[in-house]
Amino acid sequence: MTTTQLPTAAEPRRVEVPKKPPRRQREGAAWVFLSPWVLGACVLTLLPMAVSFYLSFTDYDLFNSPNWVGLRNYTQMFTEDPRYWRSVGATLMYVVIAVPLQLALALVVALALKNMKHGRAFYRSAFYAPSLLGASMSIALVWRAIFNDGGTVDNLFGTGGWVNKPGWALFAVALLTVWQFGAPMVIFLAGLQQIPGELYEAAEVDGASRWRQFLSITVPMLSPVIFFNLVLQTIQAFQVFTPAFAVSAGKGGPADSTLFYTLYLYDRGFVASHMGYASAMAWVLLIAIGAITAVLFRTSRSWVFYASEGDR
């Protein structure tokens, strides 16, 4: 085996490559790699998705065979259900608050830890610790105790309870998500690990300032990972369920202020047994998130840098 040296992205190295294998052979290899995914996607993903799409045009109630009702679920959702629109509003508000805060915090902490010489492992573990819990029932009870009347936050800042006030409960739930910023932080850290040290050394030799290095090395090299976190956290935030379910004990209260989209979907599907309606809600959400993600992918062309495509 020969030594493969890492070429720097800044100065791509052209190598004379021997004849590539014929196209069909390479295609075959791709499908071998894809085979587990294809099997899973067809049986465990595509089929259930198709069923739920079909159900969104029916009155399926979990217990009786579904009857075709055309677009009724969709028209009812848009025109006759004020609670639906309240859930849309709450979800948008949550996405706008939680996603930027969580990503900014994760990035700042990851950058702070990157250059740390001592205690990095300790800090990384400690900052990740809240994310180990998930949104379990015990953490929900703790959250309620802290953000309640007479709880820690009230005692310190005199804010009164948050979880029981319609204007503030959403913020308390968003903070729970922000608090668990470990996942994007670890992904940022892993991304930072992957940036070849040679790049910084070269920049150092050229006398580039820290800020300059950050802008012209860290940001572009990290951009695939920043993009990943942005897309995934946005998708997940639109589907926020467990934190609100746990903190509001499944009700989305007070006064529907944390009745997020999927919480209401769950309520319709499994509490009220209107699975047809819930399926329709799910597909509207898929289309909405899909549109937003498509926009993000479109913009990514101008700011996300892939080393593998850097020379093309």
Binding site: I139, W179, L189, L286
Partner: protein, 289 residues
């Protein structure tokens, strides 16, 4: 564990910066870890204080919460519950790391027909709320005779159904320069060789990340475990701790908190064991000889 920096006086400006960095991090940690301290303290509170008390510290230490929790639930011992949880989480980790990296390699580095649309479809699968597909999936697993086994919890991971991780690894692989494989090809490596000996070692941070998240998320995934597991002897720690709370009868919040602390330990250990590899990542695997 904390490190205080003692630097020679000559390099004062840098030392100042470091002290400030550590001070900032410690202050942030104090806030961040407060709820965890609360969780720990609550697990030792007597029943009267678990919910009602808004003080951090218990008036007396109620170790019986732990004793109750360690007795297990309904004749099923804590060791059994722990083994079950480990089995599921361990299987899920192996499945996800293998299947997601295979699929990711195809998406990131190989060319094939319909790559764009298939990738878009894969991303779309994470956009549909899982409640909408729960019942069809249940029907499928029931038809396969897999309900009340661990298959519904592990098999999907071997089939790369978690697009989150495929996408994650894809992003990391796309960050690697294309010349790597071209160099490998000069050495006569086919796609399989270059996947195993060039790309995979370089994606280690992403694979470790996948392993860590899969373990933690599978461990905490109450919902799927609830739906597919029937017999109490197949229950997991996560299921068991919820059974201490039942809204229609008397709940045992103290033991539930104790059980959450017990259930937390294995994932803490797993994280501590694996997070070390995150550091090494590039340093060790950059050059293959």
């Amino acid at each position: 564990m904390t490190t205080t920096t003692s630097t020679p006086a000559v390099r004062k400006p840098i030392a100042w910066r470091r002290v400030a960095l550590h001070a900032g991090c410690l202050a942030a940690l104090l806030v961040m870890l407060y709820p965890l301290a609360w969780l720990l303290a609550t697990s030792l509170k007597p029943a009267t204080e678990v919910i009602a008390s808004l003080d951090l510290l218990p008036s007396k230490l109620e170790w019986s919460n732990y004793k109750t929790a360690l007795d297990g639930v309904n004749d099923v011992s804590v060791t059994q519950l722990l083994t079950n949880s480990l089995l599921i989480a361990g299987g899920a980790v192996i499945g996800n790391v293998i299947s997601c990296s295979l699929a990711a390699y195809a998406f990131a580095r190989l060319r094939f027909r319909f790559r764009g649309p298939l990738f878009a479809f894969m991303i779309a699968t994470i956009m549909l709320p899982h409640h909408a597909v729960l019942i069809p999936q249940y029907i499928i697993f029931n038809q396969l005779g897999m309900v009340n086994t661990y298959w519904p919890l592990i098999l999907p991971k071997f089939l790369a159904t978690e697009a989150f991780f495929v996408f994650l690894i894809v992003q990391f692989m796309r960050g690697l320069p294309r010349e790597l494989e071209e160099a490998a090809r000069i050495d006569g490596c086919g796609p399989f060789r270059s996947f195993f000996s060039v790309i995979l070692p370089l994606t280690r941070p992403a694979l470790i990340t996948t392993a860590i998240f899969t373990f933690i998320w599978t461990w905490n995934d109450f919902f799927t475990q609830l739906i597919y597991l029937f017999s109490p002897e197949k229950f997991t720690l996560t299921l068991a701790l919820r059974s201490f709370v039942d809204a229609s009868s008397t709940s045992a919040f103290g033991p539930m908190f104790a059980m959450s602390v017990i259930a937390l330990l294995p994932i803490v250990l797993f994280f501590l064991a694996f997070q070390r590899f995150l550091v090494e990542g590039m340093a060790n695997s950059g050059i293959k000889g």
